[in-house]
Symmetry: C2
DNA sequence: TGACTAATTGTTATATTATAACATAATACT
DNA sequence: AGTATTATGTTATAATATAACAATTAGTCA
């Protein structure tokens, strides 16, 4: 018996402010709990990453950040990204060199990404079956899995009908 | 009933010349069959990529290529890489921005990579189960899969015992 | 409080990865 | 041979990311 998958692609017109607020709120709580500092730069960066469900490039982030923070430089952004990555508040999409907000920040997880080549939105899955099969098949080569990058390109439901 | 997986990690002292020759030979045949030109630069590039089972960076390739070809520049390498990628003679490891020889160049396939963080060797799997589960789970989100990037980090059998 | 410590941010420079654009040369086609 | 196509040469630059060191800010505790 499988449980229903986590919300994946969002409707074109969903209440995205709710996504942003929820993400910032969770981040706030997680940082408080871990006693790590959710500084202004880190908040701004996370908020910008969550400005859509599309992955954002580091230098896009920098350009946008500069609107509020005149003296931002690459290290400003990369440090914020490092912090957010380390604390699982965001993920890096390796095949795009881009960053997206994490949907399960309060939970240890292994995720897979569905990348729509039509609208460029990304969905994050946290599918135990995928993880399990990968781990099992790797084990058949005697390989001990530590980390997985699974990025799946294709068309989301909406873009299939266009 | 599953069939035994393709050769994955190679023994420390295998006959690597055989790997190189086999790869170049297959490439030769494939290009002949497709009537595309397997030029000197492309051969040299493929040979350098196959110089080990470790992924190689574009600029490492450039440095090495320059030993034989004094005037090589980045486009020289990237064009060769593009050609080899298009014709499935090599793969790009997205999480490393590096390139490895393809083990199944004569066959349409979807592969997964096992990346050993100990010795940096890479194994290529072409596992129908992994592919199937990914496609099936993506379909549960209504997603139509076109392409997969699966890169698994961990320890190869040898490195687990060190 | 104030001095010490650790973490964060500022700043400049540079490394690394990749592509654009246009010129020249080699090959294939008739 | 003449033309078209593909490949390579060459210069410049875009895009992604990190190193190194200085200055500042926040947290600690005598």
């Amino acid at each position: 018996m499988e449980k229903f998958p986590a919300p994946s692609f969002y409707a074109h017109r969903h209440n995205h402010n709710a996504c942003i607020h929820s993400a910032l709120n969770k981040a706030q709580h997680i940082c408080a709990k871990k006693e790590i500092r959710f500084t202004r730069i880190r908040q701004q960066t996370l908020e910008l990453i969550w400005s859509s469900h599309k992955p954002i490039l580091a230098y896009e982030l920098l350009r946008t950040l500069r609107r509020e923070k005149h003296n931002a430089e690459p290290p400003t952004v990369y440090r914020a990204l490092d912090f957010l990555l380390e604390n699982q508040l965001i993920h890096k999409i390796e095949s795009l060199n881009a960053y997206v907000g994490c949907h399960f920040p309060d939970k240890d997880h292994i995720s897979q990404f569905l990348i729509c080549t039509g609208c460029h939105q990304i969905a994050e899955l946290e599918d135990a079956n995928v993880n399990k099969v990968i781990t099992r098949q790797a084990a058949r080569s005697g390989f001990q899995v530590a980390q997985q990058t699974v990025e799946i390109r294709g068309l989301c439901p909406t873009c299939q009908n266009l």
